[in-house]
Symmetry: C2
Subunit: 221 residues, 2 copies
């Protein structure tokens, strides 16, 4: 079925979280990389665990709690100032170099963001990058109080866009997110900028792209 | 409320998975520790992701797929023979040194295992360690086709034991499992043999123990 709308994951797919990693290194010299790895791993782990336990907390709070764990596990302090600095960096993430050009070539097709991020995190990063008019919808899991890869999250996109799921192309650089979207019934494009090894989750995306720049050709633009 | 039954997690709580790590090192010299770390992390990750996606596969299959990913990510081969060797090691895990003595001091109180393991993995390891008569029930998540920390899993224990959840003591060395059991409504004892840092998941166990040996005194035996 031809693709009639595209839905994007936010962090790591449109927006580069590398600036947060750099900031970790400035705040915790020599330990920044390790800290940001643990932070990210726990951030995701906590979304999955809380979803399964049916004890939802929003992504801002989850991200802060994961940061607190990461600092504690590395024996580092984690005062309010440091937490605020790192959390604020999430609001000013830059898009990947090719993102704006790639999105521009898709104009005319309805585009949306579907993200774990809370509205208080997503709206500022979209606005700070001048992308308010690019996306028809900026959708947060917060509406359904459960995280990806629950089908209840992916279901939000066809509802908001008024396009059947089979005609939606879903774009993510997180393989597990791509697999979740595939299980739900989207056509899925995995962005693999880093040569990552795909997880063994029993499903595969429609195509693997090196960057967002390859997207326009795939959907006939 | 006094505790009237005890429910134990299996892997890492009763049974020491270290022998599998040693075997990894023999099969992949110099890379065994890293391999077993990735393997374990992915094993858990896949249980959470598949539960959220509502695409259950049993623990044997999940464990094999996680092993396949771990080998691939480290650029190592993973033939059927290696997979069989490592999977068979799960059936012959030894209990922790204090486990049999600690369980012996609890005799008279109904004891059960509640594990992610499939029946085909759990029953052999219980039998190979001569523990068939120790546990009133060996309960696998396989009955409900979803993994911990879903409340549907913990719910199996009060049903099988005929004891209300508030009167059940749940014992795990996996902090996230302890938190899930606590959210469900058990009294929870976290076994922290390694001085691990507790996760930031908004709930705490009733007590933190250094080993299973401390359990009998806590439940008045």
């Amino acid at each position: 079925m031809p693709i009639r709308a595209l839905v994007f994951d936010a962090y790591g797919t449109l927006f580069d979280v590398h600036s947060v990693i750099d900031l970790c290194e400035q705040l915790y010299p020599g330990k920044g990389e390790k800290l940001s790895l643990v932070w990210r791993a726990k951030q995701l782990e906590y979304t999955w665990l809380r979803s399964l336990m049916a004890e939802y907390e929003d992504f801002q709070r989850i991200t802060e709690m994961a940061l607190r764990y990461a600092c504690k596990s590395l024996g580092q302090p984690c005062d309010t100032e440091v937490r605020d600095t790192l959390m604020n960096a999430y609001l000013r993430l830059a898009p990947y170099p090719e993102a704006k050009g790639a999105l521009g070539r898709l104009s005319g097709m309805p585009l949306a963001i579907l993200s774990n991020g809370s509205p208080g995190m997503l709206n500022p990063v979209v606005k700070n990058n001048g992308l308010e008019d690019t996306f028809a919808h900026v959708i947060s899991v917060d509406e359904v109080k459960i995280y990806k890869p629950s089908p209840r999250v992916y279901e939000l996109a066809p509802k908001k866009l008024g396009v059947p799921k089979e005609a939606i192309g879903f774009v993510s650089s997180n393989y597990w997110d791509a697999v979740g979207a595939k299980a739900f019934g989207f056509q899925v494009f995995w962005i693999n900028r880093t040569g990552a090894v795909p997880d063994e989750l029993g499903r595969s995306p429609e195509a693997i792209l090196n960057s967002l720049a390859e997207l326009a050709a795939l959907v006939g633009r």
